[in-house]
Amino acid sequence: MKLGNAYTIAKYIMLSSRHWIYASIGLTLVFPALWLTLLRIIGNPQYMNYFIVGTVVNTSFLIPFIGTSQDLAYFRRVSAVYTLMFSNGAGHWDIVLGYIAQLITLNLSSIVSLLILSILMMNASYDIVQVLATIAMAVFISLSSALLGYALAMGIRNYRIVNQASQVIPWPLLLLAPVYYPIAVLPPVLRYISLALPTTYMALAINGSLSLSAAELLRGLVGLLVYSSASILIARYAIIRGEVNG
């Protein structure tokens, strides 16, 4: 893997994203400000922590997962831009790393904004360590989610199936895991199911970093490492299979 190629790809994909500036501003500022305002009006500050954990997980999981799976499947199977970059010198992992780097760069601003707005609007008492730890975890979750998306994009040859699956898969992952609510409110059976979902570990990692709980953070990190490794293995298998079977 060449980091220079990944940087080049990230840079030029970001340049091609400049036309989405209004959507970026909406996602970065308007969306968190609006939800925090609604939360303030409803006046249930107890829910704020769950809301922040859920929104950070949602933002750092959903956009990288859907974006990576749909864009890279489109690049590979429809526009052939993937092949264009590959055949002109980029490796598979240069392309995916470049894509993920630009995605995280663009996505991170909305997470930073949410945390800062929570402090400003809701008087959340996060210190700099909590904010930095949460941002670091959000980066790791984005990377892990993007790798899941890449495995999906590489593993399924039909672009339309990838497109639909990437929109369907996240919802059970978000609803059956304790992302927006504590695990205690889930029925016992779902608690066991949630242990197998990557979003559970994402929520643990974010909760652990916001509450500075090392045990929770560690459990979250280990879970994410397992999922990331599995995604890398699946994608690697799909790449090798593609070299043989076309």
Partner: protein, 284 residues
């Protein structure tokens, strides 16, 4: 002629199959520096599969591909080749110059050279006035020109063009031909596939006819000479007849005696193509 001193690509005894169905069988080709080589064949003849192995996207089942002494993966890493894959689209939300820059930088061209190379390539394909224009705003033919500009920029040693002119108008096609010839004149080796036989005839120094395996090889004129007939068109009797070279003189003498207007036409590369593959144009 096979010449190891200036050989850029050598494909030896290459075999490739998908799910047990052979696509390339015992393919042997070579491409020298400063040479345009066309690979022609019907749909499904294995041309794109062969190219995908040359630029490292597919692994051969058997055989060897050597590019400047390296395997395709190493050659790609070293930035010696540029490729326009089949049916590819450029990044439509980049500007023309940015797109060329992106691919040049992926090939590892030093930063100091990039700007000059990009300008030069854009001018060569006639897009000089469009460098700062979004690709999305260009016509389909101009988008193909952006891809060709990206491929020829900074004079890579090997340029692979898989049907670069498909579906574009005569004017833009002519611009692509000029750009390809200019790259050849600057020393690049070029592998081209096309369904436009006239294009291959116009551009190629050598042509391979393939249908899974290589069936014929030579310069366009050598291939034309392999057909032993000429076509005589006249106002007399059958309007157009094909006669063997040996009989041509007597037929022409007869037409002269009868004071009939006539013309003699050599076989074209298309005639060779039809002779080899029939006129169904599907791989069998």
């Amino acid at each position: 002629m096979l010449n190891s001193n200036n050989m850029i690509v050598r494909v030896k005894e290459l075999w490739k199959s998908f799910n047990g169905v052979p696509v390339n069988e015992e393919v042997n080709i070579y491409v020298n520096e400063g040479e345009i080589v066309s690979i022609l064949g019907p749909n499904g003849a294995g041309k794109t599969t062969l190219l995908r192995q040359i630029y490292g996207e597919l692994k051969p089942d058997k055989g060897e591909i050597i590019i400047l002494g390296m395997n395709p993966s190493k050659a790609k890493d070293k930035g010696v080749m540029s490729v326009v894959p089949q049916e590819t689209m450029p990044f439509s939300l980049l500007k023309v110059a940015e797109h060329v820059e992106l691919l040049v930088r992926l090939r590892g061209v030093p930063k100091g050279m990039v700007r000059h190379c990009v300008e030069d390539a854009i001018n060569t394909v006639g897009l000089g006035d469009y460098g700062n224009k979004l690709i999305d705003e260009l016509s389909g033919g101009m988008k193909r020109l952006v891809l060709v500009a990206s491929a020829i920029a900074c004079r890579p040693r090997l340029i692979i063009l898989d049907e670069p002119t498909v579906g574009i108008d005569a004017q833009n096609r002519r611009s692509i031909w000029d750009a390809v010839k200019s790259a050849r004149d600057n020393g690049s080796a070029i592998i081209l596939t096309t369904h436009y036989i006239h294009e291959a005839e116009e551009l190629s120094d050598r042509v391979y006819l393939m249908n899974r395996r290589i069936l014929m090889e030579g310069s366009p004129s050598e291939l034309r000479r392999r057909l032993s007939w000429v076509e005589v068109r006249s106002d007399y009797g059958d309007k157009s007849i094909r006669v063997d070279w040996d009989e041509a003189i007597s037929v022409i003498n007869e037409l002269v005696k009868r004071r009939v207007r006539f013309e003699v036409k050599e076989p074209s590369l298309e005639d060779v193509f039809i002779e080899v593959f029939g006129d169904g144009h599907e791989a069998r």
